[in-house]
Amino acid sequence: MRYIDEFRDPRLAKSLIADIVRHVTRPWVLMEICGGQTHTLVRYGFDELLPRYIELVHGPGCPVCVTPLDRVDKAIAIASRPDVIFVSYGDMLRVPGSKSDLFQVKAAGGDVRVVYSPCEAVKIAEANPDRQIVFFGVGFETTAPAHALTVLQAHRLGLLNFSLLASHVLVPPAIETLLQSPRNRVQGFIAPGHVCTIVGYKEYEQLAARHHVPIVVGGFEPTDLLEAIRELILQLETGRAEVVNQYARSVSRAGNLAAQQAIELVFERCDRRWRGIGFIPKSGMRIRAEFAQYDAERVFGIEESGAEEASECIAADVLMGLKKPMDCPAFGSVCVPESPLGAPMVSSEGACAAYYRYRRHETQASGEVH
């Protein structure tokens, strides 16, 4: 397939790895922020191909994973109402709330629908004027513009039966929190290419300068990630801390201005709780007061459940890059994708799910397949 196969070329990958091996002289700890990047690295087994002392840790960039328990509970409470059609991205359906998940709401008779595009939810609202249509707006900066557009479109159409359960989080405040933590081990970051496609990378330049840490805006294909890793190693080995845009075929420094305008128009920054991590100041986005009638939280006024995570889940340490999924005693035994204890086991982008899906043979029959 053109424009994809080129980025999965084994020969190119091998030469990039050889280049990395040539330049690295000591151990480094790198973090890829986005779950999609984690997935590629684990799927193709690059952590095995790279020199052992380049440690890759997996960041908090899986939107499904970091959506806090009480927001999932809120979604479940709204979706269970007989007057509601609840519309969501597919991978939110299996995310466990404190008592149930959206699949079970659906099995119990709730009208829960999966869409690829948030704008489908607005169409559903137009077609069902006697029902309340609620879209579960989960994601990072990447999905926020499309969610903003649903509100603007509903407003333009004068729809009275559409609202958004907004649950957006922002990447830079999470990196900031991580870098400020006394337990931080990460020395270089691969920034999320899709997020930067929307917002650009000026904010990352400030982070890099403030903490003297190299950041490479990276893509999602094998050679994208190897190129990003090579750039980080070159910078670390020579004591530099710059922002480099590896994913230039999609990302510009200023980002997508029209998308940023849509976000700005509909949302404002707020403090937000991250599943497994806790409160991060100014790390979320909520709907502005002008659009209150499209804010599902205001429309339905459901109380916070205040639910806490299962105590044996080490999601926080995994999401902050302090532990690997396999360090968890529950991994693969009580915590499996069918009955996840914590969110990183749920989404295909979660670090635990990626390890469970692709790497379990290492714990089962270490050495036999290599």
Binding site: R8, G36, F46, R94, D101, P222, V334, L341
Partner: protein, 355 residues
């Protein structure tokens, strides 16, 4: 049952924790939830020798012959799709379940569950297509049944078909016979059916030229069996729901062997790869309705491959992997980069990703 059972540090229950008290859509996906349902509900109830082989068809001794029987229910939406419709699919699906046992299919029963309000013209088109498919496959529909449910209680129409046939001679194909060293052969590119259906679903308006691969495979199977020594083909499976990954995992589990697949050997059409990239799906988990996987003695692999390639439905057949002693019960993939990863069975349906 709570989603968060207390963890007591010991796993004693064979049913995975957190199993839903209700049927979820995933129980019908052909993945791990389906397998769990069979293990926890159906097998304990119906326990018998013919069933316990867990093959696509049951083989029973009857009047000195080996009689094969299978049944399948079709709930596809939309009813008509590029490359077929629910009628032809109901014939192909059941014939293929027989064919995977090397069975010569003979007779079909057809039961319709119709939703109140269905246009009779639509039913007529489905029936015509069903009859044409049966005729082409050389089987007769010899009995049937019709029920009508209230509007809103069915998706237009559901079809159940049951097929019977005869196993020639003393042939015995079974998914518990894969042996280390055997080759894994795939009859052609994967994912066509699933993507053709998905492209037609409401809310997913993308245009493709992809057609379902829906086809009856019994003549291909006959060609494969001719000219190789008895026992050289250990088993065959058609990778329908749950895709190639589920089929490979079932064989690995039932034969208690490992399977290593070669990523670059698995054929996937460009259009299917493109659609899967866009939709965030993995073709390994996408359904097929006209493909088969055969596990074959290495000495006979080339002969089987040659016979397949001479048949219109096996022209793109290729060896995609090997059965191994190690990693019993597990399927692993050697990537184009030389690394290994697990090919897991999905718990339920593949879920579209957020971004």
């Amino acid at each position: 049952m709570s989603k968060f059972p207390e963890f007591d540090g010991v796993l004693t229950c064979p049913v995975s924790v957190g199993v839903s008290e209700r049927i979820l859509l995933g129980h019908g996906s052909g993945g791990r939830l389906s397998a769990e349902l069979i293990q926890s509900v159906f097998l304990p109830a119906f326990d018998n020798t013919a069933l316990n082989h867990l093959n696509d068809q049951a083989i029973v001794d009857f009047a000195g012959k080996q009689l094969a029987i299978t049944t399948d229910t079709f709930v596809v939406k939309p009813l008509f799709f590029p490359g077929g419709d629910i009628g032809s699919l109901a014939v192909h699906g059941t014939i293929n379940d027989l064919a995977m046992g090397g069975v010569q299919p003979l007779y079909l029963s057809v039961a319709f569950i119709l939703e109140e309000g269905l246009e009779i013209d639509a039913l007529r088109r489905v029936v015509t297509s069903l009859q044409r498919a049966a005729e082409e496959a050389g089987v007769q529909v010899v009995t049937g049944d019709t029920k009508v449910v209230e509007k809103g209680h069915g998706d237009g129409l559901f079809i159940n078909t049951t097929g019977i046939g005869i196993v020639p001679g003393r042939l015995h194909l079974s998914a518990d016979q894969a042996t280390p060293g055997d080759r894994v052969i795939l009859s052609g590119p994967i994912g066509d059916h699933g993507i053709a259906i998905l492209a037609q679903r409401e809310g997913l308006s993308f245009e493709t030229t992809i057609q379902s691969d829906s086809a009856a495979l019994h003549t291909l199977v006959r060609a494969m069996l001719q000219g190789v020594p008895s026992g050289a083909i250990r088993c065959m499976r058609d990778p329908t729901r749950g895709g190639l990954s589920s089929t490979a995992n079932e064989i690995a589990a039932q034969s208690k062997v490992g399977i290593v697949l070669q990523e670059e050997k698995i054929p996937v059409r460009e259009e299917v790869r493109g659609a899967c990239e866009l939709l965030g799906l993995d073709p390994l988990y996408v359904a097929n309705e006209g493909k088969l996987v055969a596990v074959v003695d290495p000495a006979a692999a080339e002969a089987v491959l040659k016979a397949m390639r001479a048949h219109p439905l096996g022209r793109e057949a290729c060896i995609i992997g090997t059965v191994t002693e190690s990693n019993r019960g597990t399927v692993v993939m050697r990537t184009a980069f030389g690394t290994m990863r697990i090919v897991d069975m999905l718990p339920g349906d593949q879920l579209p990703r957020i971004c």
